[in-house]
């Protein structure tokens, strides 16, 4: 009996179309536009000027707050502009635009494919390297990794959990790196364990990735303290709280942090980036992006430099067909629909998914039949039908009582609703309202 989380969840078809396609390097585009807001928190401040020559890996922006991360140039060339550009949702965000000239890397970056397994650095040095490399969580939220690896005072980490679940349908980037770079991921885990001062690490992988499970098992033999945990396939297993529940059976308290259970969760992609930063001196300038969708001529996994336009990614698989009607950055359950295909990829971009109208268009909303399926599907034990109703009536107090702030926005409620009520759409707005009120009360 494989493990999984106890409450709620749904079983969308996994549609891992690109799982057989090995990672390819995406050719460099003519220009890249690197966003200054690639992490949770305040946008970074550019430290280059228009006309500057930059090399791959050179720092182009410094963090401007505590929860912020450095940004490095992902290409070599000339800074063409530092200007606000529209992101995928159409909002203006400062970008550094660089014209690509050749591919000249900073000399201190080790570009050899050799595996480096010896670790001499202390925990502080590791954290400093990770911070300098601008690493953020690649699971989606893009939370700066060095902060997550430094538990707040009074809390101690007991165990590191690597998230290789990839519970979102379609996406295969984590699957591919676990199959192609298992040693590096295991070494990255080892490095993070040292930084945290913990002796145990679990690697959670869903059972629909048998090759990845096998590869990671072989890789972990060489390192002590790492255990691969195969998990039943259920969405949203990759949610931090669900993964901790599934693997060590502890539940993050309401309004609490994962560290309250003694666990720190990191994505396998982050682990690979940590390995490259600490052992190879390579900052976070590229990541693996799955370009997929049933309607596309090909589905591939690319190693993509940060700041490449989505339209360029589409071209790389032969362009979108006429019937393509929704472009999504990320997976189909939690990804963001792209309004502007000229927007560029970020550090935490995991996938570009293309869906047709038939696959994605929402059906007409009907009346609530009070079946309670949304409450059964909610992995946080909330009552989405109630929260949706309270939000439409603007009853913020009651939404708070009903713990709307616990919502992880996984979308299970909307996925399962027989009446197609846009439950999550309203809950998300209500949650923002309640969080705002709670914050203002704290002050």
């Amino acid at each position: 009996m494989k493990k999984t989380f106890a409450m709620g969840g749904v079983h969308p078809k996994d549609s891992k179309l690109a799982r057989k396609s090995a990672i390819e390097d995406l050719p460099l585009p003519a220009t890249v536009a690197i966003s200054m807001a690639q992490h949770l928190g305040a946008p970074a401040t550019p430290v280059v000027a228009v006309g500057d020559k930059v090399k791959v890996g050179q720092v182009i922006a410094e963090p401007s707050g505590f929860v912020s991360a450095r940004v490095h140039s992902s290409v070599s060339g000339t800074v063409k502009a530092i200007e606000p550009r529209t992101d995928l949702a159409g909002n203006l965000i400062p970008h550094v635009v660089i014209d690509v000239e050749g591919d000249e890397w900073l000399p201190e970056i080790d570009r050899t494919p050799d595996f480096k397994g010896d670790l001499t650095l202390s925990a502080e040095q590791i954290l400093a390297r990770i911070k300098d490399a601008g690493i953020v969580g690649l699971g989606g939220a893009a939370f700066p990794t060095h902060i997550k690896l430094s538990p707040p005072p009074g809390k101690t980490a007991e165990v590191l959990i690597l998230n290789g679940t990839e519970c979102e349908p379609y996406i295969t980037s984590d699957d591919r790196i676990m199959r192609e770079h298992p040693d590096e991921i295991a070494m990255g885990a080892k490095i993070m364990m040292k930084a945290l001062g913990v002796g145990r690490c679990f690697i959670g992988i869903e059972e629909n990735k048998p090759e990845a499970i096998a590869a990671m098992r072989i890789a972990t033999i060489r390192f002590g303290g790492l255990v691969v945990v195969p998990l039943k396939k259920k969405y949203p297993q990759g949610g931090e709280k669900q993964l901790i529940d599934a693997i060590i059976g502890r539940r993050v308290p309401s309004m609490g942090l994962p560290i309250d259970t003694g666990a720190v969760v990191q994505n396998v992609g982050t682990s690979l980036a940590v390995y490259e930063a600490v052992q190879k001196n390579k900052p976070l300038i590229d990541n693996i992006v799955t370009v997929t969708g049933k309607c596309l001529p090909a589905q591939k996994n690319f190693r993509v430099r940060v700041g490449v336009p989505y339209s360029y990614l589409l071209e790389a698989v032969g362009g979108a067909p006429a019937k393509a009607s929704k472009f999504i950055s990320g997976g189909p359950m939690m990804g963001k629909a792209i309004r502007n295909l000229e927007a560029t990829t970020q550090k935490a971009t995991s996938s570009l998914l293309v869906l047709t109208e038939a696959e994605t268009k929402r059906r007409a909303e009907g009346p609530c039949i009070r079946c309670g399926k949304c409450a059964d599907a909610c992995p946080m034990g909330l009552q989405p039908f109630l929260l949706n109703k309270l939000m439409r009536l603007n009853r913020t107090d009651e939404m708070e009582q009903e713990k709307i702030f616990d919502c992880i926005e996984c979308g299970c409620c909307l996925y399962t609703c027989p009446a197609n009520i846009p439950l999550l759409d309203y809950i998300r707005v209500g949650k923002a309202d309640v969080m705002k009120i709670m914050r203002s009360r704290k002050k």
């Binding site: 939690m334 998914l353 994605t360």
Partner: protein, 338 residues
């Protein structure tokens, strides 16, 4: 890119296979076995009742939406058909066709649409229709026919009673017998377990076969349309309570097996009490609701003047559902942070 503009929406971008129409369709499929058995046992009158009941329900909903509420037509969600079929299954097989029509008008017109249509009604529409008929036309609604149709030559358990064309339901026989000084265990013992499980002598159309109802229930469970909570708590409550009473005084009270497999307990427990709209939404609420139905139904059977009380008990518990929904919260993920 297509000539159509790209679509943008909040996540999630996929929807599961669930839909209201699918749920209602599954209920209809689950009702097929019992309807078929009823047709074989009672003949064409079942079909006539079904046609008039369902057609009236659908027509009623269409007309009210069109001319009174000025809202889009909602008969496509199949819920009116489900109400119609359930109503007819709750009628005696000898009822005239217009009984189904009157019941359907009450069910859809009064119990469903006046509250605002699907999802808004407080009471199960089919049961409101049935109870309305029961109190308005008590003679017609308690004229039971014994199974006699196409099956009579094949099932030996029917042939013994074929000479009597009409009779009372098992529960009715027990009630009458007790009043005239009979002994409960003997009265109930006149029915074999095969009769109670397969083809029941006397009762509403949908009460004809416990096995057919259970088959439908299993189908609904497999399709995850209903959860086991409500049917199982109702049956368990009735069985446990009946065991207690029966062991205290078997001369006055009938036993658990007889109580679970007679009357409308299975039809009500599997198909009527589990109606989404009028049942609680959380497991704890559903357990309380199921226990309440079981207790009330058995009390009416044992102490009331009606031989059967499942319809009433479900309607009474329907009243409590809003308060159960308010106070029975699901188990939340994680404890309160200190």
């Amino acid at each position: 890119m297509s000539s159509e503009k790209p679509i943008v929406s909040p996540s999630p971008h996929l929807h599961g296979p669930e839909s209201t129409r699918r749920v209602m369709g599954d209920v209809l499929i689950a009702l097929l076995p019992v309807t078929l058995v009823a047709f074989l046992c009672y003949g064409w009158s079942v079909l006539i009742l079904l046609l008039s009941g369902v057609a009236t329900c659908v027509l009623c909903e269409y007309l009210i939406n069109r001319f009174l509420l000025h809202r889009p037509c909602t008969i496509g969600d199949l819920s009116a058909i489900v109400t119609g079929v359930l109503l007819v299954l709750n009628l005696p097989p000898a009822a005239p066709w217009w009984i189904a029509v009157v019941g359907a008008v009450v069910a859809i017109g009064i119990a469903k649409m006046t509250f605002g249509g699907l999802g808004q009604n407080l009471f199960n529409p089919a049961l409101v229709g049935r109870v309305f008929l029961l109190v308005s036309f008590p003679v017609l609604m308690t004229k039971w026919t014994l199974p006699h149709g196409f099956l009579q030559d094949y099932l030996p358990m029917l042939s013994s009673q074929v000479d009597a064309f009409t009779g009372a339901t098992p529960l009715g026989v027990v009630k009458e017998g007790l009043i005239s000084g009979g002994v409960a265990s003997e009265l109930a013992g006149s029915y074999t377990w095969q009769q109670l499980l397969f083809i029941r002598p006397g009762g509403s159309i949908g009460e004809i076969s416990s096995v057919a109802l259970l088959l439908g229930g299993i189908y609904l469970l497999c399709r995850r349309v209903i959860k086991v909570t409500i049917p199982v708590t109702i049956m368990a409550t009735v069985a446990i309570l009946a065991t207690i009473f029966w062991s205290v005084d078997p001369a006055r009270f009938t036993g658990p097996f007889f109580n679970v497999f007679t009357g409308g307990l299975l039809l009500g427990g599997i198909f009527m009490a589990t109606d989404y709209v009028t049942s609680p939404m959380t497991t704890s609420g559903q357990i309380l609701y199921g226990v309440g139905i079981g207790v009330i139904a058995l009390c009416i059977r044992y102490f009331g003047s009606y031989p059967e009380g499942v319809s009433f008990s479900i309607l009474i518990m329907n009243c409590v559902v809003p308060i159960l929904n308010k106070y029975c919260k699901p188990r939340r993920f994680g404890k309160e942070a200190k």
